[in-house]
């Protein structure tokens, strides 16, 4: 184990011709081949199809036989105001998610640390983690069971208190709030894991020393825990910003996607693209909006990564 023959240990010389490099690492290359074929088939092969965004798609003529219309498809969604509305909704929801997700996750992580009983902590953590494991379809049904006006739990309780039933599925106004609350309900258990691990990583001696110096609970949080969480918070916030134009399609679709009265208030890019593709078969418009989203998303991630690289090079993606 200790005497490693350098010749045998490093047969893949960094120098040498490309052919030699390939030959020497042929097994490792072959081990990557299934994944490479997979990504070619499902991630790279759809890329040329983006061209459908620039044509007036005709089923019989196919993507590349349909008449080229330049940026018409983009102009159409942009001029109708639709594109701006979708972008605005997607970004505003994501901003709310990013801020509230992380705020609540930090609060939960700090409070979890205060729980002394190990059993209590384990059980409550497990309970809070449950919503992460269920499908978005079930989330849709759970919300429906709580909120629908005929049989929902909210109105059962309101009825018992002698209050009028709320018809939440007949008006779009409360749904931004409902969506944000459901998102927090589903993701907080998951989000707090990273922060809890970071808090647990704080040197116990530092906290102990501060308490001997007479620091109270608030000062401990303010001057020790929060500063030590700062790098994690900054990195997670930045990466979340990278995904600012990507919507949580499963959540939105299963809560409001089938109900035009509701989704008009909270429509996001993904829902529009899904409807245009699956219901309207309007592939050209769908692809135009999708391409617009992909491009902004790409620029966002590149920008964020450049910022991360500057402040915390270890965490940069590439």
């Amino acid at each position: 184990m200790t005497t490693i023959n350098p010749k045998k240990a490093a047969p893949y010389s960094v120098q040498g011709s490309l052919r030699k490099k390939i030959w020497n690492s042929k097994t490792l290359i072959l081990m990557c081949v299934p994944a490479i074929i997979y990504f070619i088939a499902f991630s790279y092969a759809p890329l040329p199809g983006i061209y459908v965004a620039f044509v007036n798609y005709n089923y019989r003529k196919g993507i590349f036989g349909s008449p080229f219309v330049g940026l018409k498809n983009f102009e159409f969604v942009a001029n109708s105001g639709k594109l701006w509305m979708l972008t605005k909704n997607t970004i505003l929801f994501n901003l709310a998610f990013i801020v509230l997700d992380n705020l609540l996750a930090v609060v939960v992580a700090i409070l979890l640390k205060e729980i002394q009983s190990k059993a209590f902590r384990k059980v409550s953590q497990t309970m809070m983690f449950l919503p992460y494991f269920i499908s978005q379809v079930l989330v849709g049904l759970l919300v429906y069971s709580l909120l629908n006006s005929d049989t929902g739990y909210l109105n059962v309780v309101r009825g018992a208190l002698g209050l009028e039933p709320l018809k939440l599925y007949k008006t779009g106004d409360p749904w931004p709030l409902i969506i944000i609350l459901v998102h927090l309900w589903q993701k907080t258990g998951y989000n707090s894991v990273v922060y809890f691990a970071a808090i647990m990583g704080i040197d116990a001696a530092v906290i102990e020393a501060s308490m001997i110096d007479g620091a109270n609970a608030w000062q401990k949080i303010r001057y020790i825990i929060l500063p030590s969480l700062k790098p994690t918070i900054v990195i997670l916030l930045l990466f979340a910003l990278g995904g600012i134009v990507k919507g949580d399609f499963g959540l939105f679709w299963n809560l409001v996607g089938r109900n035009p009265i509701l989704y008009q208030k909270v429509d996001i890019i993904e829902m529009f693209v899904y409807r245009a593709t699956i219901s309207d078969f309007n592939f050209s418009t769908a692809s135009a909006v999708g391409l617009y989203q992909s491009l902004i998303g790409f620029i966002m991630v590149i920008t964020v990564n450049a910022v991360v690289k500057k402040i915390e090079p270890d965490y940069s993606l590439f």
Partner: protein, 306 residues
């Protein structure tokens, strides 16, 4: 790790606490307790209502504790027969997809962290780029249906969930923790790279395999999205897509139970939704407490580090 955390908590608790420590500890217990209850409360509603009679649901609404306990909705779901076909399909998809996905992701993840692999940066970028820029839904849908002709084929669900750049990167990070010396000593013994991977690295990679495998399995079990794109006209549906249809489409209710057993015009739709929800999600609710630590491991390994 867990042991160290508990020691830390113990040592902190030995120091004298101030009044504010007790205040925040009290807030902690109350807040966490409420949040934990809120996390499972909707499930209890679904569970309770699934054992309630349809008449009571319509007249009095959903309930935590059934007023008239009945298993009628479950009987109806089971009698329909196709729920077991859905179970079979979901299990086959989950097991096949997870095993093949694990094989591909672990093999690639291992190769990409080998420092003596000259193409690792190039291939890593090739893999990573797929998460940076996507073609979008419409081109993907057109390729899957008109290029690959996978419409109404279970391949359209099995394949797209099998490999992702995120899972490969996660696996790569796990593989980094396997000492490089093991690979070196395998080489000295004259083993080829694949042999080294299978007989030396894989046994050491168990935590990574468990974590990535569970992410894959959860993805397959909860799958409804690809199904909604490509399996619209199938008779046997994956479990969550079956639930999706029952929740969203009144017409599929009638197909989900055999019509000779009941008068389809007054089907107990509400209790049927609840019973189907419990049956399709039950296995997850029972299993996740035992495997959640692997997900926590995955989140902490994969969340911050790219």
């Amino acid at each position: 790790m867990a042991k160290k955390q508990d020691d830390m908590l113990d040592s902190v608790s030995k120091v004298k606490l101030t009044g504010s420590d007790y205040v925040i500890r009290g807030i902690g217990y109350v807040f966490i307790c409420l949040f934990a209850i809120a996390s499972i409360f909707p499930f209890l509603i679904i569970l309770g209502t699934s054992f309630e009679t349809e008449e009571n649901i319509i007249a009095k609404g959903v309930t935590l504790i059934p007023r008239n306990f009945t298993t009628a909705a479950y009987d109806l779901v089971i009698k329909g027969g196709t729920i077991w076909a859905s179970y079979g399909l979901t299990i086959v998809l989950t097991v096949t997809g997870t095993l093949i996905g694990l094989f591909i992701c672990s093999m690639t993840g291992y190769a990409l962290q080998r420092r003596d692999f000259p193409f690792r940066n190039g291939i890593s970028f090739f893999v990573y780029f797929t998460s940076l820029f996507q073609a979008g839904l419409a081109p993907y849908y057109l390729l899957m249906t008109q290029g690959y002709h996978l419409n109404n084929s279970y391949w359209a669900v099995l394949l797209p969930l099998m490999v992702s750049s995120w899972l490969i990167i996660l696996m790569k990070n796990f593989a980094k923790s396997v000492p490089h010396e093991l690979t070196e000593s395998g080489k000295i013994d004259g083993a080829g790279d694949f042999k080294i991977f299978v007989s030396i690295v894989l046994p050491m990679l168990k935590p990574g395999l468990a974590t990535v495998g569970l992410f894959l399995a959860l993805g397959y079990w909860n799958e409804w999205y690809q199904s909604s794109l490509f399996l619209q006209n199938m008779t046997v549906l994956p479990l969550q897509y079956r639930l999706y249809k029952i929740v969203n489409e009144a017409s599929s209710l009638k197909n989900s139970v055999a019509s000779q057993y009941v008068d389809v015009s007054n089907l107990p739709s509400e209790s049927l939704k609840m019973a189907t929800a419990m049956m399709t999600t039950g296995p997850i609710i029972f299993l996740y407490p035992f495997v959640q630590r692997y997900f926590i491991g995955g989140i902490t390994v994969g969340a911050v580090k790219g």
